[in-house]
């Protein structure tokens, strides 16, 4: 179980940085800092898929970066099965798999080498990593391009390699930051199938998205982040009920409007 309590994160603004009109109206800009995340709390049970929604710049990526330990929160707590992630980030990193649509691969390494490199960084032995990679490559139908350099792959092949890399160490939690943004239909389907497979395997998934159809078909719970605050945290059914006709778009808009008032 993952529990996120009252996360907050501010970034110092560069000296002389000029703010746009929209930024000036954003309450999170205070003096010389930008409070990207002010108060985000939610939790995720084993086997659940959580959809993280919110307008651009709401604080979703910062939240996921804190969750994956790439960024250190200024306040709040992240607990994985009761253990404090912030106190022992290395332990947490062993249990988290991370993927985003902008995640790149090492172009001059082959699919196998890309995945094996991260497996080694996760401390896997040569025997274990070869066995696991063989398993993943079979699952994702990657054997035909296992020895092809990433720079010569199609976008679908790249995304499959990125997926294999993200889960090569069999993570206890998978974090996805807008994993389908900018991808074509076929590649998007690969990612969605991957999330579905994780759900079936009982691996919790937290992913941010702008695509409400993905939320509708995959998520058990929904968290809406607006201006750095978790404005909604509940089941998909409860989220639907925010709209008279169960429309997710209307539900989302009602949360955002409520917060803005």
């Amino acid at each position: 179980m993952i529990e996120i309590r009252q996360l907050a994160k501010a970034f110092a603004l560069e000296k002389g940085q000029k703010l746009s009109e929209a930024e000036l109206q954003d309450v999170r800009y205070t003096g010389r800092s930008f409070c990207s995340v002010r108060d985000v709390s939610f939790n995720c049970e084993n086997g659940q898929v959580i959809g993280l929604l919110g307008p651009n710049g709401a604080g979703k990526t910062t939240t996921l970066r804190m969750l994956s330990t790439a960024l250190k929160p200024d306040a709040g707590a992240i607990l994985m099965d009761g253990k404090d992630v912030l106190r022992d980030p290395l332990l947490a990193r062993r249990r988290i798999g991370f993927l985003s649509s902008s995640t790149g691969l090492y172009g001059r390494l082959t699919a196998f080498e890309n995945v094996a490199y991260f497996a080694r960084l996760h401390g896997m032995t040569e025997v274990a990593l070869r066995q696991r990679i063989d398993e993943l490559f079979t699952l994702l139908d990657m054997h035909s391009f296992a020895n092809r350099r990433a720079e010569l792959m199609s976008s679908g092949m790249k995304q499959k390699t990125a997926i294999a890399r993200a889960v090569v160490h069999s993570p206890a939690l998978v974090v996805l930051d807008e994993p389908t943004t900018g991808l074509d239909i076929m590649t998007t389907q690969t990612v969605l199938d991957f999330i579905r497979a994780l759900k079936v395997a009982g691996t919790p998934v937290i992913f941010s998205t702008h695509h409400l159809d993905e939320v509708s078909s995959l998520c058990d719970r929904v968290v809406v982040i607006n201006q750095g605050i978790s404005a909604f945290n509940g089941s998909l059914a409860a989220f639907r009920q925010l709209s008279a006709d169960g429309d997710l778009r209307q539900a989302f808009m009602s949360v955002i409007k409520q917060e803005s008032v």
């Binding site: 970034f11 970066r65 991370f98 985003s100 090492y106 960084l121 401390g123 993200a166």
Partner: protein, 400 residues
């Protein structure tokens, strides 16, 4: 850390640009460039020396022996002109009619025993750096003057060995206390550093950009940061990669130049390279390497810090470009006349290494100062590595 190091090396070894900088440039391109430059310079000098310069001599009948010497000089060809006025003759030279005018005064008498100095005028273009006309003329005038000196001294009864005693009462026999190696070191030592140090820098710069800013640009950095490996190990793995390529470039270049020099030397029957190499012992070479390692550490950590800070490959190139020019400043300082290795200059980064290499090649190194140079470079390298490691921990650097 070693996983990161091995992966970075594997990736760089597959990169054409890195291979070009680390291997192709020092092994083939540099020797070809220097070779072509040498050939061009040799050809230009040879054709300049073979050139025939047209001259005009006014009042040649007053100094027939001189006129004859000039006439039979292989680089001079006599032409005639109606002009006699210096300004008109100068204009004729500017117009390209001839190259040199020698005006012998009308009252000059070669056979006169009267002890009066005669003032001659020569007109030619003195602007070229290689003053060939001036040098040729100087030799002819020197010979002619010697003839006059002998004749005049003979007239006053000075003959045989007395002539030398009058013309050159004191002759200096110079015996150098310096060994041949010292002379060679003084001339070549500074330039060795001038070649090696920028090569170490160049060998570091492209890989540093690729594995720092390049990692950000490719979107692989974030994934790397959430691996269960400390950020110090990550950055040290990258640092070691940059250090390796920097040292490899310098070593490959030295070996390449040595190899090419030996090849050309043996083909042309010149053993300059063999002499130069025999002057340096194994210990000296190891000491040069011992200085280059911490120096390359300085470059690797500074370049990696800049590269990590940059948002993109291009931004990193913008930072590192001007830095590569700055590297030459302390090296040029070491080449200035009068700048010697002492307890003060031993503390100036890069200048100290350059001066040390010079002293090592000369064979006159003070081991105390050498220790100080290595120690100060190691300390500076340590500080910069620590900075680089701490720099890599900062979110505002990694997520700019």
């Amino acid at each position: 850390m070693w996983q990161v190091y091995l992966k970075e090396l594997l990736e760089l070894s597959r990169d054409r640009k890195t291979l070009m900088f680390v291997i192709l440039l020092p092994v083939l391109i540099f020797p070809v460039i220097f070779g072509v430059l040498g050939l061009v310079a040799a050809n230009v000098t040879a054709s300049a020396q073979a050139e025939e310069h047209k001259y005009v001599i006014i009042n040649a009948d007053k100094a027939p022996a001189f006129a004859e010497q000039l006439f039979y000089h292989k680089n001079f060809k006599q032409v005639s002109t109606e002009l006699t006025e210096p300004e008109a003759l100068r204009q004729a030279i500017r117009a390209g009619q001839f190259d040199l005018v020698v005006i012998i005064p009308a009252d000059f008498a070669a056979g006169s025993t009267e002890l009066v100095q005669s003032q001659w005028t020569v007109i030619y273009n003195t602007a070229p750096v290689l003053d060939l006309i001036g040098n040729y003329l100087k030799d002819v005038v020197k010979d002619y003057s010697r003839q006059l000196q002998l004749a005049r001294l003979e007239a006053v009864g000075v003959t045989g060995k007395q002539v030398d005693a009058v013309l050159e009462p004191v002759q200096i026999n110079k015996i150098s206390s310096a060994e041949n190696r010292e002379n060679l070191g003084e001339k070549l030592g500074g330039w060795i550093a001038y070649l090696l140090v920028p090569l170490c820098f160049m060998g570091c710069s492209y890989p540093a950009i690729d594995i720092g800013a390049g990692e950000k640009e490719r979107g692989t950095l974030e994934t790397l940061l959430i691996c269960p490996i400390s950020r110090s190990s990550l950055v040290l793995g990258k640092f070691l990669t940059v250090l390796t390529t920097g040292l490899a470039t310098a070593l490959i270049t030295v070996l390449s130049f040595g190899g090419w020099g030996y090849l050309i030397g043996s083909l042309a029957g010149v053993d300059v390279v063999a002499k130069a190499m025999s002057a340096l012992g194994f210990t000296d070479l190891m000491l040069i390497l011992a200085m280059l390692i911490p120096l390359t550490m300085i470059f690797a950590s500074a370049l990696l810090s800049l590269s990590i800070y940059a948002r993109s490959f291009k931004e990193a190139q913008n930072y590192i470009g001007p830095m590569s020019i700055l590297v030459f400043v302390p090296l040029a300082l070491a080449l200035l006349p009068g700048v010697e290795l002492n307890w003060k200059t031993a503390l100036i980064p890069m200048t100290n290494i350059s001066l040390c290499i010079k002293e090592l090649v000369k064979g006159t190194i003070d081991m105390g100062i050498l220790t100080l140079v290595i120690a100060s470079t190691v300390v500076l390298a340590g500080v910069l590595i620590a900075f680089c490691v701490s720099w890599f921990q900062r979110e505002k650097v990694l997520f700019r």
